[in-house]
Structures are given as C-alpha cells and as structure tokens.
C-alpha cells in the first residue's frame, strides 16, 4: 500500500495514499466517538454510593421457629426464615423430586434451620408471599410461580430458584448479608 503513492492518476483500481488517509482517519474518528460514548452509557450503572450500601446485618435471636423476617438489602427484600423441622424434612425429601432448577437443600443453607434467600421472584421480580402455594413454601401472585420450603421453583413461569445471597454467620445469632 505504501508504494501506491506515485500512482495518483485517479484510477479506481489501485488504492491511493489518499484512500489510506481517509480510511485511517475515519477509523480513528469512529474509535474516538465510541470512546466518548462510554461515559454516557456507564453513568447509568450503579453509582459509588449505591455500591457502598451493599451489606446488611441482622440479629436472629428474636426470630422464633416458624417465623420469617424480611430485610431490605440493596433495595431488595431478603427472606430470613427460621424453618420448622417439618419444613426441613420436606425440603430434603424433595431433593429427588423433579426440579426445574435442580439443587439440594443442603447447598442452599449454611444451617438447616435458617433459610436465607432473596425475596425476589426469578420470573419478573415480584415479592412472593410466604407459606403459600402448592408446595408449602412461597407463591408469587404476579404470574403464579410456586416455590417449595427450600425456595426452589416447582411450578410456574419462573426459571430459577430464589437466589441465595452471600451471607456469613458472625455469631450463632447474627448474620451479615452481602
């Protein structure tokens, strides 16, 4: 291409030096425009203060067996349920049932009596109602998804189990979510 400079007699067969300049200049212009666009796109992602508010602590000692508490974490509800022995047993029994999103109950809890998971339906983000539905777990009234006592999807349009957020036991009665 470098040798084409002398042949500038405007033939449309051989690319000229000018063609090269036009193409490289346009390419640089396009890259520059794309780079300038990025701040306008990225400004819509979560800002630093939103990212900073990403953990919540909760005292479990007040939650009796069979009770649930809903806490807000990152603007979304998290269900913390003190499960009854019957619910734990049912959840383990259902490990072998036909599950759309297979997961064993033991992989979804750190301590079997405490079920901690997002209270956000994996279909379109509604908050499911507790201890309702065909499987004794949660039921989403928006589009009819049923979850079991381990928060696994069993029936309805939702594709996935209620997700388990990152959390740690700070002591026997205290957890930090996030």
């Amino acid at each position: 291409m470098a040798g084409t400079a002398p042949h500038s007699q405007a033939g449309n067969a051989a690319p000229t030096r000018r063609d090269f300049i036009v193409i490289t200049a346009s390419a640089f212009g396009a890259v520059g425009a794309a780079a300038a666009l990025w701040p306008f796109v990225h400004q819509m992602n979560p800002s630093a203060d939103v990212l900073a508010l990403s953990s919540t602590e909760l005292d479990l000692s007040h939650i009796a067996v069979g009770q649930s508490v809903t806490v807000l974490w990152r603007g979304k509800p998290v269900f913390v349920r003190h499960r009854t022995p019957a619910e734990i047993e049912q959840a383990r029994k259902d490990d072998t049932a036909a599950l759309p999103d297979p997961a064993k109950d033991e992989t979804r809890v750190k301590k079997p009596e405490w079920l901690v998971m997002m209270g956000v339906c994996t279909h379109l983000g509604c908050v499911p109602l507790g201890q309702k539905g065909d499987f004794g777990g949660w039921f989403c009234p928006c589009h009819g998804s049923h979850y079991d006592t381990s928060g696994r999807i069993r029936k309805g349009p939702a594709p996935l189990n209620l997700p388990v957020p990152e959390y740690t036991f700070l002591s026997d009665t205290r957890i930090r979510i996030g």
């Binding site: 819509m44 603007g75 379109l124 983000g125 509604c126 989403c140 009234p141 009819g144 349009p157 594709p159």
Partner: protein, 414 residues
C-alpha cells in the same frame, strides 16, 4: 417555488403576510402541508379523522406535561407527595393531571383505531411502507413514554410495573442481569431509576414530534390512502385539504373531546388502578398486578407462554411483526372492501386483540388463560399465515376505475 401558485387574493394579499412570505415562506409551506394546496382524495370517511386526532392528543400531552413538571418532584421520597400536592393544592392541578393521565388513554384509543384503519384499508402497502414503519416507531415510542410516565407518581403500581417491565430484559441470555442493573442504576428499582425515567419521559414526546414530522412528510409524498384503496387518477378525484378536511377533522375533534371530557370529569380514575394511590413499597407486591389497559393485549401474550424468554420474545415479536406487514400481505388490492375473505378475517383479528386485552386484565389461570392462548395463536397466525395465503387464494371483487366513478354512476342512476 411554493408561493408561485399561491392565491394572490385574500390572506396571501395581506401586505404583512406578503412581507413575511417573501423572506420566510412559512404560510405557503403550511398551505401546502395542511391547506388549500394539499390535494386530498375526495372520498375519505370518518376513519381518516384519527391521524389529526392523534396529533391533537400529542399536543395536549406535551402542554399538560410541561405544566405538571412545574409542580412535580422526581425523588422517591417526594414524588408521591408532590403528585398529591398537584391534586389538592395546585390551582387546577387536579384538572391538568386528570387531562394528562386520561389523555394517555385517549391517545392510545385514537392510535389503535388509526392503526386498525391502516390494516383494514391496506394503508401500509406500496408505496407507503416507510409511512407505516414510521407509524410503528411512533407506537413503540409512545409505549415507552407511557410506561415511564406511569412510574413517576411512585405508587404501588408504578413501582411494581417498573419492576416487572424492566425485569423483562433479564430474560436476555448471558447479559440480561447486567442490562437490568444498568437500567435500574442499582440493584432494584430505586431513585436512580425514577430520575432517568423522568428525564426520558420528558424527552421522548419531542422525539415523537420529530418522527411525526417524518410521518407527515412520508404521507405527503403519495398523499392519503382512501377507502377504495385505489390511486388518485387526477384532480377530479381530489379536494383541497382546507377547508374540506379541516372542517371534517374539526367535527371529529368535537366528538372526541366529548368522550375525553366524560372521562376527565365523570370517571377520571376509571381507567387507572386504585393501588397506585398507595405509596410505593419495595417489600410488598400488590396481589394482582396489571398494566394500563392499552398494554393488556401484549401482557396477555407475555403470560400465555409458560417460558420466560419465550414469553418476552413473543411479546416484542407482536410489535416487530408489524414491520414485516407490507411483505406478508401478498394481495395487490389495498382496501378490504374488495377483499371478501380478508375483510372478515380482519374483524376476527380485532376480536382476537380484544380477547387478548380481556385475558391480560384477568389473573393468569383458568378460562382467561385459555382465551389468551387462543388469541395469541390467532394474532400471529393472522400475520404469518392468513395474510400471505389469503392474498394468493382470494379473488378480489372488481375495483372501480377511479375514485370519482362510483359517485358519478350513482348520480347518473338518479
């Protein structure tokens, strides 16, 4: 060029008009757009009123919207209260808000009729494909604008509607979750979401104005279609837009404003949902989420598919398919008047759309779900199978030789 053949008497003879016209040909341009110099088929019926009515709705929405913004606060802690402030304290605030809220519904009624008119009389066919495209783009922009506007009062339906609709994008494989976080500006619908929706809700109507200008420009290239669906053969087939259709449009505006006023003054909340008078609560989802009535058919399509991605694709596909319409319809004849089979099937299509609307408003179970599924199947069959096949097999009735011919024949018979 434009003012060469403009009338030299009356308005255009006025010295002030002449002075301006010589420097800026604004009056003659208008005269060519919607005046005496725009020849229009002489046989347009009242179905052709809905274009100008849609324009009126857009103007009403922009005017009321601009003044509502003078009193509204786009923040999660104050949005709901500022809307109540508009309703209770601002002078005529209740009126302006009820006009704006019901105006959205009126806009959709008018536009849906306008679209059905186009479907029935074949207004999307060559050479008006791009005119039709621009119309579909306007519909998409209207939907986005209406959805974001409904979020602004920050009631329960606002919040959960925003949650459900933005979550539709989580169905996109791989990047879905990132897209949703990006739309929200956080990990849930929250203040950043409200702020950007407000920004876009203010912007998009002006984008719609821009596309409407292109829509009208495309319209003027070949002029309006007409109930016979045949081309204008000459000046004997047309009458000037002004005064003939300006006056006809004005009659339509009168009737339309009666209906509009009925809703504003006697049933201002009939088309809304009472749950939106409860402030947004991220911890409690209302028992029965429904979108505004004009989204119900699409909502029904979404829910009729028991698969998340499938439902979302089909819902967006229901609009996207409109872009293919000019090529899916294989009939050479535009107007359904001369298409005995298509004529009836286009009413079946309308019934399917109404069935979808009914199904979308009911809980997704039992009979309404079955009706929703049947209507969804017909909706797509109509475009993908009925339109191409009927175009081939149907024998159209005889077209009149010109727009004037049937009229002149009747006169001769009398």
């Amino acid at each position: 060029m434009a003012n060469n053949n403009a009338p030299t008497s009356g308005f255009f003879a006025n010295p002030v008009v002449k002075w301006i016209e010589y420097r800026l040909p604004v009056f003659s341009t208008l005269d060519h757009m919607v005046g005496t110099q725009y020849p229009t088929p002489k046989n347009l019926n009242y179905w052709w009123n809905f274009g100008s009515l849609a324009g009126l709705c857009l103007v009403v929405q922009i005017l009321t919207g601009i003044v509502l913004v003078m009193h509204y606060t786009p923040h999660t802690s104050m949005a709901f209260d500022s809307v109540e402030h508009i309703m209770r304290d601002v002078n005529y605030g209740w009126l302006l808000r009820y006009i704006h809220a019901n105006g959205a519904s009126m806009f959709f009624i008018v536009v849906y009729i306008h679209i059905f008119r186009g479907l029935y009389f074949g207004s999307y066919k060559s050479p008006r494909e791009l005119l039709w495209f621009l119309g579909v783009i306007i519909l998409l922009l209207m939907m986005a604008t209406a959805f974001m506007g409904y979020v602004l009062p920050w009631g329960q339906m606002s919040f959960w509607g925003a949650t459900v609709i933005t979550n539709l994008f989580s169905a996109i494989p791989v990047v879905g979750e990132h897209v949703v976080t990006w739309l929200w500006g956080g990990f849930a619908v929250d203040n950043p979401t409200l702020n950007r929706f407000f920004s876009l809700h203010y912007l998009l109507p002006f984008v719609i104005v821009g596309v409407v200008i292109l829509h009208v420009l495309a319209l003027h290239q070949f002029g309006s279609n007409n109930p016979l669906g045949i081309d204008v053969k000459g000046p004997q087939d047309t009458i000037p837009f002004h005064p003939y259709y300006t006056i006809k449009d004005a009659v339509g505006v009168g009737v339309f404003l009666l209906l509009f006023s009925f809703f504003i003054f006697y049933a201002p909340n009939y088309l809304g949902h009472p749950d939106n008078y409860i402030p947004a609560n991220p911890l409690v989802t209302p028992a029965h989420i429904v979108p505004e009535w004009y989204f119900l058919p699409f909502y029904a399509i979404l829910r009729s598919v028991p698969d998340k991605l499938g439902g979302v694709l089909l819902m967006f596909g229901a609009i996207a398919i409109l872009f293919l319409l000019p090529w899916l319809d294989t009939s050479k004849v535009r107007s359904a008047r001369f298409r005995p089979i298509y004529k009836q099937l286009s009413w079946v299509f309308l019934i399917a759309c109404i069935g979808l609307g009914y199904s979308g408003g009911m809980p997704a179970e039992g009979l309404p779900l079955v009706i929703g599924r049947i209507c969804t199947v017909y909706y797509f069959l109509h475009f993908l199978v009925v339109m191409p096949l009927v175009g081939w097999f149907e024998k159209p009735t005889k077209l009149p030789a010109s727009i004037s011919e049937p009229v002149l024949k009747t006169q001769a018979a009398e």
